[in-house]
């Protein structure tokens, strides 16, 4: 064990934390909107809406994230019309390709969590709300959504941890976040164990903090832990 090397590289790897957190939070927030849209499409009852949503989720869950990233970063840029489109300033940047891919991925996975949450809302609540004269939109925002959040939160906590882990892949398209910096140091110093311990501890710390926050939120919302 080279403790001095671990100490030195700790300060270098820490510089990657902002980028990791930035990418994770931007794509998580964008991903929630996508997830709600996909979940609503799936339970809409119309085949025209639910089938595309079903195949979208199937496609994303059935293929590796790395492949999705390559597809967005290298695959799309092959076409002239994309390079001339207004999206090109975004699609030529590895940063935005990473965010787009992670957003799509978490959107697909969380849509299943949200769908489960919405389906768990008892029909009688919806009926009661209708009887009280609330509109459909108001019922959704005031009744369905809060109950869905309560139902979905424990599973969503897991999804957040998976997102932190998944964000490491953007290092492959040259972004220098935690894993990217760690990899660079490993290939320079050839001390894989030491660097792994440092970078791994940082990831564990981030995920531990997420678990604490999710637990706090669960307690606030009165979710009882399954024992």
């Amino acid at each position: 064990m080279r403790l001095d090397l671990m100490y030195e590289s700790f300060f270098k790897i820490v510089e990657g934390i902002p980028l990791t957190l930035q990418v994770v939070s931007i794509s998580t927030i964008l991903g929630i909107f996508l997830a709600v849209a996909v979940a609503l499409m799936r339970i809409s009852g119309s085949k025209l809406m639910s089938l595309p949503a079903y195949y979208f989720v199937y496609l994303i869950r059935g293929t590796p994230l790395l492949l999705q990233l390559y597809f967005v970063y290298y695959g799309l840029s092959q076409f002239e019309f994309i390079r001339e489109s207004i999206l090109w300033p975004l699609l030529k940047e590895p940063y935005w390709c990473g965010i787009i891919t992670l957003t799509i991925s978490t959107g697909a996975y969380s849509s299943e969590i949200i769908r489960g949450g919405i389906l768990s809302v008892s029909k009688s609540y919806i009926e009661a709300s209708g009887a009280l004269g609330l509109s459909q939109a108001k019922t959704f925002v005031l009744i369905t959504l809060p109950i869905t959040v309560r139902q979905a939160l424990p599973a969503y906590g897991n999804e957040l941890i998976l997102m932190v882990k998944a964000s490491s892949l953007i290092s492959i398209v040259t972004l220098m976040e935690i894993t990217g910096i760690a990899r660079t140091i490993i290939s320079k110093t050839y001390a894989p164990v030491e660097i792994f311990l440092v970078a791994g501890s940082i990831y564990l710390a981030i995920n531990f903090i997420i678990v604490i926050f999710v637990n706090l939120a669960e307690r606030r919302l009165g979710i009882e832990k399954a024992t």
């Binding site: 492949l67 390559y70 941890i161 760690a182 290939s187 990831y203």
Partner: protein, 237 residues
């Protein structure tokens, strides 16, 4: 447009198929290693010894909290020297290099082992206690109790969970492409680079992964049906 997928030396069709075979091979061997690790650590988690339980807990927490890519880098850069270090203890001094397949199998196997541990532990816990007691009352122990009475029940309950672990494992093998193992991901990258047709080749890779997923779903569904014979299904209740 589809000439690029011609078989033989003129196209990439056969190379892509070989990539798919490699993906299936490395995923299967990782899953097997993972299940073996899973059985050992599930036994640790269920044991009465605090130390064993703590070791298993640390292992699953680390693997589930750290990016897969870091684990792969650790083994890719450190695997060979670790093996040489072990060999030195046993008196062998020389250069040993692990190939990409072995490193990939160990890395992805270690990852899928953590998930298998939880699946197997849950399955063992859901075998009714009475089964152990009856077995012991009948005078069975060791292999005849665990091998013939407990294991078949654990296997049946664990099967759907193992199916999920297989999906995770299959997708994780795409990360081994960074170590140079020529599976679907790596092969489509090579082909995309040499033909300048990344869109077509990454689409082909997506189709190959979805095909493997579809086929393995069919396999696990039929295996589940086969091993659930004689049990009342949940829907029937």
């Amino acid at each position: 447009m589809f000439d690029v997928f011609a078989l033989g030396p003129t196209g990439w069709g056969d190379e892509m198929l070989m990539g798919a075979v490699m993906t299936i091979l490395v995923s299967s061997s990782s899953l097997l290693l993972g299940i073996t690790i899973g059985i050992v650590f599930a036994a640790c988690k269920l044991s009465n010894f605090f130390i064993l339980r703590a070791i298993a807990e640390v292992y699953t927490t680390i693997i589930r909290g750290i990016p897969e890519l870091l684990v792969i880098y650790l083994l890719f850069f450190g695997g060979s020297s670790a093996v040489m270090y072990l060999a030195k203890i046993f008196g062998y001094i020389g250069y040993i290099e692990l190939n990409a397949f072995t490193i990939g199998t160990i890395a992805v196997g270690a990852i899928s082992g953590a998930y298998s541990t939880e699946v197997i532990r849950g399955a063992v816990n859901s075998v009714p206690k009475g089964q152990f007691e009856v077995g012991k009352t009948l005078g069975l122990s060791g292999y005849s109790l665990y091998g013939k009475i407990i294991f078949p029940q654990v296997a049946r309950i664990a099967l759907p969970g193992i199916g999920n672990v297989w999906q995770i494992t299959l997708k994780d093998t795409a990360l081994i492409s960074v170590t140079g193992l020529v599976e679907i991901m790596r092969q489509s990258r090579i082909a995309a680079g040499s033909t300048h047709e990344p869109f077509i080749f990454y689409t082909a890779a997506i189709i190959l992964y979805l095909l493997i997923t579809r086929l393995s779903n069919i396999f696990f569904d039929s295996a589940e049906k086969k091993y659930s014979k004689g049990y009342v299904s949940k829907e029937a209740l």
